[in-house]
Symmetry: C2
Subunit: 460 residues, 2 copies
Amino acid sequence: MSQERELTVKKLYLKLTNNSLEDGKEVVLSGWIRSNRDNGSVGFIAFNDGSNFKDIQLVYTKETKNYETIRTFRYGSTIKVFGLVKLTPENKQPFEIQLTDAILLNDYAEDCPLQKKRQSFEFLRDIAYLRPRTNTFNAVFRVRNVLAYVIHKYFQENGFMYVHTPIITSNDAEGAGQVFHVASDLKKPNEFFNSSACLTVSGQLHVEAFALAFRDVYTFGPTFRAENSNTTRHASEFWMIEPEIAFADLEDDMNLMESFLKYIINYVLENCKDEMEFFNTFIDKTLFDKLHNVLNTPFKRVTYTEGIELLKEAVKNGKKFDYNNIEWGMDLQSEHERYLTEEVVKGPMFLTDFPKEIKAFYMKQNSDGKTVAACDLLVPGVGEICGGSQREENYEVLKAKMEQLGNEKGLEWYLNLRKYGGCIHSGFGLGFDRLIMYITGISNIRDTQPYPRTPGSLRY
Amino acid sequence: MSQERELTVKKLYLKLTNNSLEDGKEVVLSGWIRSNRDNGSVGFIAFNDGSNFKDIQLVYTKETKNYETIRTFRYGSTIKVFGLVKLTPENKQPFEIQLTDAILLNDYAEDCPLQKKRQSFEFLRDIAYLRPRTNTFNAVFRVRNVLAYVIHKYFQENGFMYVHTPIITSNDAEGAGQVFHVASDLKKPNEFFNSSACLTVSGQLHVEAFALAFRDVYTFGPTFRAENSNTTRHASEFWMIEPEIAFADLEDDMNLMESFLKYIINYVLENCKDEMEFFNTFIDKTLFDKLHNVLNTPFKRVTYTEGIELLKEAVKNGKKFDYNNIEWGMDLQSEHERYLTEEVVKGPMFLTDFPKEIKAFYMKQNSDGKTVAACDLLVPGVGEICGGSQREENYEVLKAKMEQLGNEKGLEWYLNLRKYGGCIHSGFGLGFDRLIMYITGISNIRDTQPYPRTPGSLRY
C-alpha cells in the first residue's frame, strides 16, 4: 500500500498550483464517487478521496477497460482508479483524469440514508456519522480543523503556553448555569474521588494559576453546560478558548482579542478559499462583507455607561426596542448590543466597564467602586461574540466578594494566588463552536460539531 | 501597560541568539524572584517572568535606587525592575541586568506552602496550583506544551484533519475498563439526554466515520477510565492521540507511527533544549541515549508468533521470567515485552499479528483465521508505548464478531460504515501523558498533568 498512500486529490491540486502537474502522467487513486453520469459513449465521475474540498473529474470512454461496469458504479461507492492526467487549462476544471481502468472496492448499499439529493440539515443531523460526506459539512469540518490549528499557531507564535485544564472538577467555577455530575457509581456519587465531581464549565480559574507561572497561557478544550436550552446557539458540550495573560490590564486584553480575532479570520480566509467561497455563495451572501469589515476596522471602545446614554438617546429619538426601558445597571439584551454595533458604531466594538452587580465575582473592581474592568466584544450580525476581563488581584477585595457570595469553600487556592506572588492579569473566553457559526454563516451550533450533544440528543 | 507587554525574558534570550541584544540597553521587566542574595555591597536576583525556562540575573549595588529595600525582597515575590543590559560573554550567564531600580508589586506571604527548599514530588502534587513555579514542573509543562503543538503540526503538515470526537457518549467504545457516568440529575440519570450517558474512553469509533469522509484524520482530546488503579501509570483523566487513515493497511499504519514518533521526539529535543538538558541531568541520566536510540534506529517488525518462539528459546536457555510458562495465545506481560525490545532487538520494535482472542473486536482478521492485523510498539525502558491496528472492513465478518460479543446495540452505525462506501483503514492510539513520561523521564503520570485526577484525588 505504501506507494499508493503517496498520491491524493489534494496533492494533485498542489502540483497544479506549483505548475508541476505533468500532462500524461500516470496516476492511481482510491476514493469515493460523488456523481457518475454517462451519455453512452463518454462518462464523467466526480471523484474525491476526502483529502481536498474540490473534487476531480474522471473521464471514461469505450476505450477504458471495464467501461460497461464503470457506468454502473453508484454514488458513494469506493473505487480505485488508474488513469492519465490531462491538463485542460481552457476548461472550468483545469485538469481531469482520463481513466484506463477502475475497480469497485466497496459498493454503496441502497439502504444508506445519505443519498445524492437535497436532504435537510435537520435530517442530516440525525446521521451525524455520514453527513461529513456532504459538501456543506465537508466544508464546515474543514474550516473547524483549520480554525483549531490557527488558534494554536497564533498562541504558540506569540509565546503562549497551552495548558490542559481538567475536565472533571470539584467546583463549578463561575457558578455559570447547571453542571453535569460525574460518578463511577451513580448510587455512590462521591465514592470514586472521595468528593462530588462535575464536568468543567470553564478552565479559567485553573489556568490563572498557570499564568502566574508562565505569564501568557491558554486553554482550549471541551466545556459543558447542563442547561435545558433548546436554542440554535446552545450545546451541552462545546469547546472553549481561554487565554490568560499576566502583567496585563484590560487594555492589553482588548488588544489581544482584536489581534487574535483578526489573525485567525484572515488565516481562514487565506487557507480555506474554496470552503469560504462555498459558504459565501450558498449559506450567507453577506459573509465576506461581514468578515472583511471585522478585518479592516479598528475595534471601537465604548464604556457601558456611554452605551446606556446612546441607547437612551435612541429611544428618545423614536427607536423601539422590545425592551425599551433603558437604565444604568441593566443587563443589555441582544437587540441593544446589535443596535450599538450595527447602527451606531457600524463595526466591531468593545463595550467596557460594566456595573459590578451584573458581572462575575473575579472581575477587577474599578476605582469608581461601581464598575468592573470587563469587556464584551460586539460584532454586527451577531452581537456579543466573546468577553473578557481584568481579574481582581487584590486579596482583600476578592476575599470580601467571595465571602459575600459564599463561594470561598473549595476555592481557597484561587484566592491564595493573590497573596503568593500575585500580579495584575487578564483574560477572555471565546466559544469555539459559536466562532465557527460566525465565520461560516452556519446558523445552528449543531451543524458545527462532529457529534452534537443537546438536551434529549445523544446519538452515536 | 501595552508598551511593557513587549519585553519578556524570552525575548531577551532570543535577541541574544540573534546577536541583537545591545549592551547598555534600558529595559523594564515584571516577574518573580527565584532567589535573592547579597553580600552587603552587591546583590543578585535570579529573575523570571515565566516566559522562558532559563532565568536571568539581576545585579544591584549601592548605586541602585532602593538598595536597602531590594535586599529584603523575598523568594516568590512579584517585582518590577528597571535596568541596563550588560553583556558578559566571558561568564556562564551571557548577559545580566544591572538594576537602576526595582519595586515590589506583590509580596510572597510567608504561609505559602511552596518554599525555596527541596520539596518532594508527592508534597508538590498536593499544591498543584503552585508547583508549575518549580524548575521541574516548569520544565514538564513546557515540554507538554511543545509536544501538544508538534502533534498538531505533524498531522496538519501531512494533510490530516483534526476532529473533536465527543466527550459525553452513549456507548463505552471498546468496552475497555469501567466508565464514568454523566447525569444532570444523579437521581434521574437518563433524563437529560433521554438515554444513559458516560465519558468517552476512546474517540476511535467516532473518528473512523470521519476517516471515511476525509481520508486522514486524528483526534486529540481527553479520555477517561473509572478504574480503581493506583499505579504510577494510571490516571482517571488523560489525553489521547488517535489518528485514523483510510486506504491504508497495517504496514502503512506502522510507517505512520514510526515517522510520527521520530518527528515529535526530534522536535522536542530541538525546541526544548534547556528543559531536556535539565531532565537528562536531574531526572534520568539515560534519557538522551534512550531517545537518540529511538531516533536513529529503524523500527524492527516481529510477529507475535515469532516473539513467542524467541521467548520460549530464552526460557530454554535459562532466562527466568516471573511468568515463565510461555505459550502461543497468551497475553504478553511487560517483562516479556521488555526482554524482546531490550535484549533481543535492542531497540524499538513492532510486535504484530496477535491472536484474535486477546485483541479488540474491530481489528482486521488475517487470512490465517487465527490472528488479527494489530501491532504494539515496544521501546526499551518501557515496553509497550502505543498500539494500532487495521480495522475490520468486511461487513459480514465484523457483524458476526459483534453479534458474538453482543455489542451491536447502539453500534449499528459503526457496522454500517462497512457497507456505505467502506474501505480498508487503520489507526493507532497513543496516551499523551504516558508519552510525556517517556520523553521527560518523569516516572509518575500525576507529575505530567496540570491537575491530575486519580481515585480518591480531585483537589482543585
